[in-house]
Structures are given as C-alpha cells and as structure tokens.
C-alpha cells in the first residue's frame, strides 16, 4: 500500500489558480511589458494627451489669439517651439546648439552629485533615527530645527563656507534632498509592523540580523518615496542656487534670459527642466521597482489582501 500523506490529500486542491500559474516565475522585463500594455489599454494615456492639448491650447489662445492683458508680454507656444527647434536660434539657444546640452549636463551633474550625497548620508541617518529611540532623542530636535530653513536662506553661508561657485550650488541642492530622504527613511522604519520584528526575534535573529533583514527592506517603500521627493526638491533648490551663482546650468539660463529679455529662452529652460526632472524622477522609480519586486508583483497581480 502506498502511503499518502494525509496533509497532501487535504491540500491537493488548495493550490494557486491557473491564472496565478501563468504569472508565476515571470521575468521583470516581461512584467514591465505586461504593465505598459495594460497602461496602453487603459484610458489613462489618452486622457493625458487631452490634458496636454487643453493646456497648450489655452496657452496658444491666451497669448497668440485673444492676446489677454496679462499674457501680452508672454512668448506663445509657436514662438517657443520655433526657437527651440531652430537651427539658427534668434537668442542663441536651441536643440541644435551645443551650449543647450552643456547647460543640461552641468545641471544634471550637480543634481546627481547632490542626490547621491543626500542618499548616502540621509538613508543611514534615517534608518538609525527610526531604529534607535536614544539616537533620535539626540539628533532629531536639531534636525527638525534646521529642516524648515529654506535652501535660499543658506546661500550666504554656503558662499562663505565653500570655495568657488560649484560647491555652494551642490551644497544647496543637497540640503533639501537630504531632509526629504532622511525624514522618509525614518518614517519608513517607524511604519514597520511590530509583528515583523517580533517574528524575526522568535525565529532567532540577532538585533543586527533584524536590522539587515527586517528594518532595511521593510523601510524600502518609504525610502524610495523619499528618494523621489528628494530628486524633485533637488531640481528645485538647484535652480535657486544657479540663479545666485555660476555660469552654466538651466537655472542660470532662465535667470540671464530674464535680464537680457530673451523670453522664449526662459520658457525653453523651464520646459527642459520639467522634462529632465521627470526623467530623473522616473529613473529613481524604476530602480525602486527593480529592488522591490515583491511590491511591484503584489500591485501588478493584485494579490488578495
């Protein structure tokens, strides 16, 4: 007589449904394609196009057709696009001039350096703030007092403290990023359900193992939310810094175009900032999705909760 485990008999039909079988063992790339196809099938991309059309349409009508009072000095969309795509731009900056890319490159480099510094310092600081009550009691009040000080208020001290024009700008860009990252990481640690740390200690994990296997991955969703905010505010304070000093960068472009009355170039700078800012923020989200596949899968597959 073959022995059949009683448990196996009972559980034979308690398995995943065929639909789950299909998605099991799916690669991240296939998952990404699956998700973008879903996105294309949903109404979202088309609503987005409608949104853009309405926005640009209003801009066009307000400036170029109706010539509304407040909009009379504004550059219209046709003027901006013509300048932007011109081989021989009136005000010297378009997608065909190397200078344009120089400005983008300088700004992106500053943001990248500041962002990596903010992450390298902010994430560990946030983890320890959330993990150790004592450490938080020392550090957090100072942190909370400095955090509301706007980066612009740091401009004079930044110029006094750091030599040249590059380091003060990077320092200003770093500041706001650092606060966002550290604060979100701390909240991430504090949001971890106590059951997880208790379960880990039941299973014999040491304090350090709990930190490594529960605290860090458990805080990851909040950390990446923080990093996305961090990239956003980095661009924010970068432009403030570049308006104050420096000879390159998109903030510098906007500021000098203003003083030299090159209005279409201002708008080119602004649109470029929007695009570059969105791309960096999307890149951070992609890295997060890659590192937290458990979460991407949960969301994509809608596992029952």
């Amino acid at each position: 007589m073959t022995e059949v485990s009683p448990v196996r008999v009972l559980n034979a039909d308690v398995s995943l449904s065929p639909a789950d079988d299909a998605v099991r063992g799916i690669s991240p790339l296939a998952l990404a394609i699956h998700r973008s196809l879903l996105w294309l099938k949903s109404p979202r991309p088309y609503l987005m196009i409608v949104g853009f059309t309405l926005f640009i349409g209003f801009w066009y009508l307000a400036v170029e057709v109706w010539k509304l009072p407040r909009f009379s000095e504004m550059p219209g969309p046709t003027e901006v696009v013509r300048e932007w795509l011109s081989r021989n731009p009136t005000y010297g900056l378009s997608i065909f001039t190397p200078e344009y890319y120089m400005h983008i490159w300088v700004s992106t480099r500053r943001v990248a350096i500041a962002f990596f510094l903010a992450t390298a310092i902010g994430v560990p600081l946030g983890l320890f703030l959330g993990w150790s009550e004592r450490f938080k009691q020392y550090v957090f009040p100072v942190f909370e007092l400095l955090r509301p000080v706007p980066p612009l208020a740091w401009v004079p001290l930044a110029i006094v403290m750091f030599k040249g024009s590059e380091t003060p700008i990077i320092f200003l860009t770093f500041l706001a990023s650092f606060y966002a990252t550290a604060l979100n990481t701390m909240l991430g640690v504090e949001s971890i359900d106590v059951s997880y740390t208790r379960a880990a200690s039941c299973l014999g994990a040491t304090r350090w193992q709990v930190f490594r296997h529960v605290i860090v991955p458990g805080a990851m969703p909040f950390i990446f939310t923080g990093l996305q905010i961090s990239v956003g505010v980095a661009w924010f304070s970068l432009v403030a810094g570049e308006m104050v000093s420096g000879q390159y960068g998109l903030g510098y472009v906007i500021n000098t175009s203003y003083t030299m009355v090159r209005y279409p170039t201002i708008v080119i700078g602004m649109i470029t900032l929007g695009i570059v800012g969105y791309v960096t923020s999307a890149a951070v989200r992609l890295v997060g999705d890659y590192l937290m596949q458990w979460r991407t899968r949960e969301l994509a597959l809608g596992g029952d909760k």
């Binding site: 789950d20 208790r198 039941c202 299973l203 458990g218």
Partner: protein, 291 residues
C-alpha cells in the same frame, strides 16, 4: 480554494513522536500596565497548565488580556509577578520579569507576519539560516520537503503577497515548524479569514498537529473553534483575565468537521456558551462605560 468533505482518516500509522515537550506552567501571573495602584490590571493571578503534545485553547472576548498572556510566554512583554515555566525551565519569574524570545516558542500572528519582501521559501528558511543551524542548501532542501508535505508545492518562489491569505497562514506555520519549536503560540491566526477558509484551515492545522505533535497554545474568541481544536479549553474572564472555567474536551482525536454535528460537541457548546456569553456581555458593558 474549495472545500471538500473529508472522511475520517487513520492516523495510527503515524509514529509516536519523541518524548513530548512544550509543557508550559503558568503560575499566579499578574500583569498590570502603568503604576501599581492606578494601573490597569490586564492579567489577574492567572494559573493553568499547557500540557505537552496537546492543543490548549484560550477563549475570551476581544481585549480581555489573553494576548498579553501569550506575549509574556513569547517574551515580547514582561509580567508584573508570578512565573512561567517551559518544560520546568523558568521563562520569566520574580527575578526576571521578561522572557527572552527564542525559536523554542514561535508565534503565529493575528494578521500574519510573513516578510512580504522575502519569497515564501526565503521566509520558511529564515529561522535556521539566521541561527546558523543549516547551510542555505540544507535549509532549502528541508523547506521544500516540509512545504510539499503541507501541500505548498509550487509557491516556493512566489512572494507572500501573491498567494491567498489562507495559504499564507500555512506557510507561516511551516516557517515556525522548520525550527522544531517546543510550542507554537497562535494568536487568533484565522480571525481575518472567512468561515469556509477557516474550516479548511482548522483541519489543516489539526493534520499538521497530528504529524508533528507539537504543543499548541491557541488564542481565540470563537468558542466553536476552541472546542473543535482543543484538548483543553480555558475560558477567560474579561479584564482582568483569569481562567473562569477549564474544560477537558474528551472528543477523541483525530477530529474532522463531522465532529461539529455530534451530540458531545453540542453538549460542550451548551455547557460553555453561557459562561462565554456572560464574559462577552461584561466586556461590552465595560467598553460602554469607558466611552
């Protein structure tokens, strides 16, 4: 997930396990929160035994303090006085009010505590790997066997978020059993499940129990669940929590869901329902007063 009628099976072939372990003696345990006089008494001079190799179920209304007792055994909370022994070894007592959590007493949590960022098999192998008892390869092999045995084949590399909550509970129990614990502490593990899933889970738990003979301490507010699962049912008074009635359920094991319709089962229900209802009512009026 579907439920099939299950016929009584013969467990006599299951070998008698190694000497039974996991007996817990709770003597005169008091737990109060806050200062001595003004404090809230959660557990009041509580004394009872959890017999090794048996299922002991504690029943009481929500918020009666039964989880406090479980947390004291697990080592998550200190006690105020009294003592708790595990197999005649002191866990906590007057000299040491808080037990040290460890893999000899593993808790299965109310809302489940599988790490969502680890795959099911990474969860199951967590204990032995963290403790350095098994190499990764050995742990994976053992985990695959145990998961297959519990009907969990094919979901090893899924994340907990991808499987049904009933299946998740079972993965969590396998994760606990990987450590060969003396006692499993289950804190209303099936509370969030619908009643059909729950009945499947009950039988699955019993089968795991018949195979492993691990001592089980089970907390619930569901009287039927308690009588169906337990060798012994401890009915608690509501805040402060103290045994009101201790019943030895003499319905023979192995049990399955046909037990629910037997006269003996109804008799136990009748005998206890009044006591449980009385405490639930007290808990309810106390709650009214607090608000």
């Amino acid at each position: 997930m579907s439920v099939q009628p299950v016929a009584l099976r013969d467990y006599s072939a299951v070998p008698t396990q190694t000497p039974r372990k996991g007996g817990v003696r709770i003597t005169d345990v008091v737990k109060s929160y806050g200062a001595a006089e003004a404090g809230v008494l959660a557990v009041d001079h509580c004394t009872f035994d959890i017999s090794p190799g048996e299922i002991t179920v504690v029943v009481g209304p929500s918020g009666c303090g039964k989880t406090t007792l479980l947390n004291a055994i697990a080592g998550f909370h200190s006690i105020s006085s009294g003592s708790i022994y595990l197999d005649d070894e002191l866990l906590c007592g007057p000299q040491k009010l808080k037990a040290q959590p460890g893999p000899d007493r593993i808790v299965v949590f109310q809302n489940g505590a599988l790490f969502p960022w680890k795959t099911n098999i990474e969860n199951v192998t967590f204990g032995p790997i963290m403790q350095g008892l098994l190499s990764r390869a050995e742990a994976y092999e053992k985990a695959r066997d145990m998961m297959a045995d519990a009907g969990l084949r094919g979901i090893e590399h899924n994340y907990p978020g991808e499987i049904a909550s009933g299946v998740r509970r079972r993965v969590e129990i396998v994760r606990a059993l990987m450590n060969d614990p003396k006692i499993l502490l289950l804190d209303e593990p099936y509370r969030a499940l619908d009643s059909l899933t729950k009945s499947v889970m009950h039988e699955a738990l019993l089968e795991i129990f018949y195979k492993s003979r691990v001592t089980i301490f089970f907390i619930t507010h569901d009287l039927e669940e308690a009588i169906f699962l337990g060798h012994r049912v401890v009915i608690m008074t509501t805040r402060p929590c103290r045994p009101k009635k201790i019943l030895d359920i003499d319905i023979p094991h192995p049990r399955d869901y046909s037990v629910l319709t037997t006269r003996r089962f109804r008799e136990f229900m009748d005998e206890t329902a009044a006591a449980v209802h009385e405490e639930a009512l007290k808990a309810f009026t106390a709650g009214e007063k607090e608000h």
